[in-house]
């Protein structure tokens, strides 16, 4: 019974203003939205640079990050040590580029795992409702209320502190957020007309979940995943800072942990990894926001 007259001129006006077209390619849609915000583009560029830095770490490092030496606690710009050395004489720059690798790997792995688990749980809960939803939501809530540090301590105590364990622990703590977002999306879409039409077309339920509804929910998932990467990097850094990280790998958090005692004498040991963590997390948050604006456009509200 709705008349679309005001809607269609309104829609046209917004299309003209925002330059929006309905592209079906998600990448094109994301890019055209992102490219409007200079800071979002800057964040994306920064992330790519750090990715490259991590990828090419062995080439970029000037020294073996584990190789100590006599030149301990050298300040930045001391000869070949661009960013100085730590208390064991290890080159800070080399540690930084290798740490980038670890941080990003952890970040992306966690986001991937959390997204997969979150999608499965959220889709089933949101689509079926009823007791399945209640059960899955209780489970989700349980995982959400787990104390991070205590869990990490227990896991490390039981299974040792390898980077895989770390990824596992952080993923366990991250998936509930994705699950909730996916669940909300499914709850609102499960009774939409085109889903009913799909049922009437004979589409089996699993196909409907993953091929009809999920693609319409992915926009929100992508945003959460992006924020997850940043959050995971931060969590990894915190856990490493508390000594629960993988001792065989260089990580920014680990660098911070070791820098604690030397804060007064060697500020560079803490500042460089600290700033790196802050910037990368910020970049992922801004990217997440930018993706949200790009993929979930809203009409401007009346003043």
């Amino acid at each position: 019974m709705t008349d679309n007259s005001s809607d269609s001129t309104l829609a046209l006006a917004t299309v003209e203003r925002e330059g929006l077209r309905p592209p079906r390619n998600r990448f094109v849609e994301a890019w055209s939205g992102l490219s409007r915000s200079k800071i979002a583009v800057a964040s994306l560029v920064f992330i790519i640079l750090v990715l490259l830095m991590g990828a090419f770490a062995p080439l970029l490092q000037t020294n073996d990050p584990f190789a100590g030496g006599k030149d301990a606690l050298l300040p930045p710009l001391s000869g070949e040590h661009l960013l100085g050395t730590d208390h064991l004489g290890r080159d800070i720059w080399s540690q930084l580029v290798n740490g980038a690798r670890v941080s990003l790997m952890v970040g992306f792995s966690v986001a991937a795992a959390a997204t997969v688990i979150g999608i499965i749980v959220g889709a089933l809960a949101g689509f079926y409702g009823g007791w399945i939803d209640s059960l899955l939501m209780r489970i989700t809530e349980f995982f959400q209320t787990l104390p991070r540090l205590v869990l990490a301590l227990i896991i490390v105590a039981l299974f040792g502190s390898s980077v895989t364990m770390l990824i596992g622990v952080i993923a366990i703590l991250s998936w509930p957020q994705t699950a909730r977002v996916v669940r909300t999306g499914f709850m609102s879409l499960r009774s939409v007309a085109f889903v009913d039409a799909a049922r009437v077309s004979g589409m089996p339920r699993t196909a409907i979940i993953f091929r009809e509804i999920l693609p319409n929910v992915l926009a929100s998932v992508v945003v959460i995943a992006s924020l997850d990467v940043g959050a995971a990097i931060l969590t990894e850094a915190s856990l490493s800072f508390f000594g629960l990280g993988d001792p065989n790998l260089v990580s920014w958090g680990g660098m911070l942990q070791q820098a604690q005692q030397y804060l007064a004498q060697a500020w560079w040991m803490a500042v460089f990894p600290g700033v790196a963590i802050a910037l990368i997390v910020l970049a992922f948050n801004i990217l997440g926001d930018g993706l949200n604006d790009a993929l979930n456009p809203r009409l401007k509200e009346r003043a």
């Binding site: 809607d7 203003r17 009409l299 401007k300």
Partner: protein
């Protein structure tokens, strides 16, 4: 012709933004007189809602702006030249507005009494608010107005909500009411009630009403005069009897034939072929030319102005032909094969 309350002349509304502006309303003129119900009728995208919004500059988005024309209100002057502060003194006080979907215009967290009273703030001392609200709700035919004031929107039916909105719009006794599709979202039996209410308000209060709708049946029921809009312009403006008895624009003729009522015989079903031109790429000449069964060569070259006919005017090069209806019948019926 009664005394003119509201006059719009050569209104232009266009998009604003990074790209080249697109004209959504292109030279629309209309008038509303005291005690008149004037219909503004058209289909999706014709610009009727934009026209209504521009009178009080209440655009639903900042993607559009008033680009030209004059809007004058009796004893108030040029509305198009007013600042926001000045317009605030007109909105609600001289011109009230009612929209299509009542649920989106009522705050779910405020009682009915509070919402209707909101408009009275600054105009009537607070102590007099409850009495005035009560009076308004009674006027609108709402049952048990005392109780109604304490209820919340979700407790009301669609028809009741629309009555509340009309009450709010008329709270400060404006002379003009702009009603944008006020009954489209309502059930047909409720629609009949709301339309009867609007008519009685016109009779009792001497309101001038600008009624925007897409339904020619509503126009026939309610309006004294009609403006038919197409693609951002006025195609025809007539008094209601002349419009229905002897339409002088092929678009109006097509619309009338396309309107289905319980009296329409199945074999008389009709639809206008083609679709409305994209405002970004309007054709040369008359905007209706590609869909018009009686178009001449001239129609593809020059845009027709409004040409006077009995009871109004029509923007058609063939407006003055008495036989335009028959010419239409002949050509259109041939082309319109019931598949």
């Amino acid at each position: 012709m009664t005394e003119t309350l509201l006059r719009v002349e050569n209104l232009q509304v266009e998009t604003r933004g990074r790209r080249r502006p697109v004209r959504l309303v292109d030279g629309v003129s209309l008038e509303v007189g005291v005690g008149e119900i004037v219909g503004l009728v058209g289909e999706s995208g014709c610009g009727k809602s934009m026209t209504a919004s521009s009178i009080l500059q209440l655009f639903p988005t900042d993607s559009v702006r008033l680009a030209g024309g004059e809007i004058s209100l009796k004893d108030a002057g040029r509305l198009d030249q007013m600042s926001s502060d000045q317009l605030r003194k007109v909105r609600g006080v001289r011109i009230g507005m009612v929209f299509q979907d009542p649920s989106t215009y009522l705050d779910p967290l405020m009682t009915i009494g509070k919402q209707v009273a909101e408009g009275l703030r600054g105009h009537l001392p607070k102590s007099q608010h409850p009495a005035r609200v009560l009076e308004l709700l009674k006027q609108m035919g709402l049952p048990d107005p005392q109780q109604m004031m304490k209820r919340y929107p979700h407790e009301l039916s669609g028809g009741q909500r629309q009555r509340v909105l009309i009450a709010a719009a008329l709270a400060l006794e404006p002379d003009v009411l702009i009603a944008d599709e006020p009954t489209t979202a309502l059930d047909v039996t409720i629609q009949a009630e709301i339309l009867t209410l609007l008519k009685s308000l016109r009779d009792r209060l001497g309101l001038g009403i600008l009624l925007i709708t897409h339904d020619l049946g509503v126009v026939a029921e309610m309006c004294d005069r009609v403006y038919v809009m197409y693609a951002g312009r006025v195609a025809e403006t007539r008094d209601v009897e002349s419009l229905f008895a002897e339409p002088r624009h092929p678009y109006t003729i097509g619309l009338l034939h396309g309107t289905l009522s319980p009296d329409t015989r199945p074999e008389d079903m009709f639809s206008i072929p083609g679709s409305v031109p994209d405002p970004r790429a309007m054709p040369a000449g008359c905007r209706f030319n590609t869909r018009c069964p009686v178009a001449l060569d001239k129609c593809f070259a020059d845009q027709p102005p409004l040409i006077d006919v009995t009871g109004g005017a029509s923007a058609c090069w063939r407006a003055e032909e008495d036989t335009i209806g028959q010419a239409w019948d002949q050509t259109a019926k041939e082309e319109n094969n019931v598949a």
